[in-house]
């Protein structure tokens, strides 16, 4: 096990290097000189040279890459071109909002999909099963941002409870505040802002997980040990919750991990719909403003998070299923 973890950790290194190479060199192949965009067409040559020197753009490309990657490894992503702030600061400020959004979406989808998956598996072929499967398939077919638009139109505009955009408070911090000072204000504000974006981000994940939970449960219910447990005279409840559900959760854990990565990606569009001040929207805005340092760093950070989550899933899978051997 230890060996496996170490090997997987070492595997992260080529991924990080590969991703950083792709991100850096693709951006520098892009048309549109950031300097010209910054200073305008009528800037003097000295001005341009001065700015080039500030950002290190006067160096050869490979020097720029090593400098950038070296600094990035120490958490320094340089300066934003459009906003005179450090990129690390901007990312740090926004990352929390995205993580919170993805977590909430995941939470909602697990809350719905696990019980629903079990229920449909137990009532296989019934109208509940058919209905849930149909809804799930439609759910997978819906673009996340459209779900967001529909929620805004039919809930946001009709009920004052749901704010239409923004994030006035952090739900996580609100919960913390509540447990320390018993003041629920911040928690409620955070929740009201978070709920619609989280639902629209989580729809597809919920649908996928429901289907997976169902088929995984069906698979397990067919196993001999479930029959044995039933034959021993154990009640249905014990058989389902103690024997079947535990084992059926295994593949779901994998998907939950993978989904979390997809949620980070899907957040891009959802954040744009709800003007959610997250990392994804920071990247999108930077793309349209050609703010290269932010795009580079943002993409790198998201890809890294994605890789780390996958790693965590792999490792947790080993703990959950001791049958898996790693050498």
């Amino acid at each position: 096990m230890q060996k496996f973890i170490i090997r997987r950790l070492l595997n992260l290194i080529p991924t990080i290097i590969g991703v950083s190479l792709v991100v850096f060199f693709m951006i520098h192949l892009a048309p549109g000189d950031p300097i010209t965009l910054m200073v305008g067409d009528d800037a003097s040559l000295e001005d341009i040279q001065r700015i080039q020197a500030t950002y290190g753009f006067d160096q050869p490309l490979y020097v720029q890459y090593f400098r950038w990657f070296g600094n990035a490894l120490q958490g320094d992503f340089g300066l934003s071109i459009r906003q005179s702030r450090t990129v690390t600061g901007l990312i740090w400020e926004r990352a929390g909002a995205t993580v919170e959004l993805a977590f909430m979406a995941m939470f909602i989808s697990i809350l719905i999909s696990v019980p629903l998956g079990v229920l449909t598996a137990l009532r296989r072929g019934s109208w509940i099963d058919m209905g849930a499967l149909t809804v799930a398939l439609v759910g997978i077919s819906m673009p996340r941002f459209w779900v967001g638009l529909m929620l805004l139109i039919y809930l946001g505009l009709n009920f004052d409870f749901f704010p239409l955009f923004g994030r006035d408070a952090s739900l996580f911090r609100g919960i913390f505040t509540f447990f320390t000072t018993f003041n629920p204000q911040e928690m409620i504000v955070g929740f009201r802002h978070l709920i619609l974006p989280a639902i629209s981000l989580g729809t597809a994940a919920t649908a996928l997980q429901t289907r997976l939970m169902r088929s995984s449960m069906l698979e397990v219910l067919r196993q001999d040990y479930v029959r044995t447990a039933k034959a021993k005279g154990l009640s249905d409840r014990v058989v389902i919750f103690k024997h079947a559900l535990r084992n059926a959760m295994l593949p779901v854990v994998t998907i939950v991990g993978l989904q979390f990565g997809y949620l980070l990606g899907g957040a891009v569009v959802v954040e744009s719909v709800f003007s959610w001040p997250g990392l994804a929207r920071l990247i999108i805005n930077a793309v349209s403003q050609r703010d290269f340092p932010i795009v580079q760093a943002g993409t790198l950070v998201v890809a890294l998070t994605f890789a780390v989550i996958n790693l965590a899933v792999d490792i947790s899978y080993g703990f959950l299923n001791p049958k898996i051997r790693y050498d």
Partner: protein
């Protein structure tokens, strides 16, 4: 084919796809109004129902929403087809080479695929479009690139599984060339899983195009695309909720068709998973 038609899901999917395709082909004839004609005095007209001039109402420039949705079918199917074709050809060729040649080349190709998979797909697509510049073609290219690894992986797996089968060895013994073995014996027998991926990939490509166009990175004006329609509709959710609602329903129905077909095909080819 008979088994496919017998599967209810696949059949429902095929019917939906058939309807959408007909709509795309006969868009010009089906559209009740000129989808490009603007009329500032008729902005955000509510849906008038069957018999009215604007059955699904009008948009921010007074254009007929139904006609624009009908015309938009073309862009969506076009993007789906082109993107899926590009990714299919590239992915399958890479997968065939990796699986058949093996060794160092296999290693290089698969590491490259892993690199693409290291990014969340939509983020990579956005990144590619950002680098190449926003346009319909670049959007299709981006959608295609992010889909290549899956196809390459599945094809490679198939090649590895089939390479040692008796009929392939027999063909080899008969002196068949590498290309002949690859295409006539291995690829043909890998068709089933690839078909499932293609069908599901069409759905994904259509949704991704909508997302990219929604962000202003896909189809550019004056071309009509559902994603762009949603992006303009966003400015008037209160005054004209119908624009966003109906346009989205068109996307959902189209994607649903391909997802139903893909799911149905999988059940047909691999009944164990049902």
């Amino acid at each position: 084919m008979k088994r496919v038609l017998k599967n209810k899901q696949a059949l429902a999917g095929l019917i939906l796809i058939f309807i959408v395709s007909l709509t795309a082909i006969f868009a010009q004839q089906l559209a009740p109004n000129d989808p490009y004609r603007q009329n500032i005095y008729n902005r955000y007209e509510s849906p008038q129902g069957l018999g009215g001039e604007f059955i699904l109402g009008t948009d921010n420039l007074g254009r007929c929403v139904l006609s624009r949705i009908i015309m938009g079918t073309r862009a969506s199917l076009y993007v789906g087809l082109v993107a899926v074709s590009i990714s299919f050809v590239t992915g399958v060729i890479l997968g065939l080479i990796a699986g058949y040649v093996g060794g160092r080349i296999d290693e290089i190709i698969m590491r490259l695929m892993d690199l693409i998979l290291a990014f969340p797909a939509i983020l990579l697509a956005i990144f590619i479009v950002a680098v190449l510049g926003p346009s319909l073609f670049n959007a299709m290219l981006a959608i295609a690139i992010v889909r290549v690894p899956q196809l390459a992986r599945v094809t490679r797996g198939q090649v590895l599984a089939l390479k040692e089968e008796d009929f392939v060895l027999a063909a080899k013994a008969l002196g068949a060339g590498h290309l002949r073995i690859l295409f006539k014996h291995i690829l043909i027998n890998s068709f089933a899983p690839l078909l499932v991926i293609i069908s599901l990939g069409m759905g994904l490509a259509i949704v991704t195009e909508a997302a990219l166009s929604f962000l202003g990175l896909g189809t550019q004006p004056p071309d009509i695309s559902w994603g762009r329609m949603l992006s303009t509709a966003r400015a008037a959710l209160r005054t004209a909720p119908h624009v966003a609602t109906y346009t989205g329903i068109a996307i959902v129905l189209t994607t649903l068709g391909f997802n139903l077909l893909g799911d149905g095909l999988r059940d047909v080819f691999d009944p164990r998973l049902k």
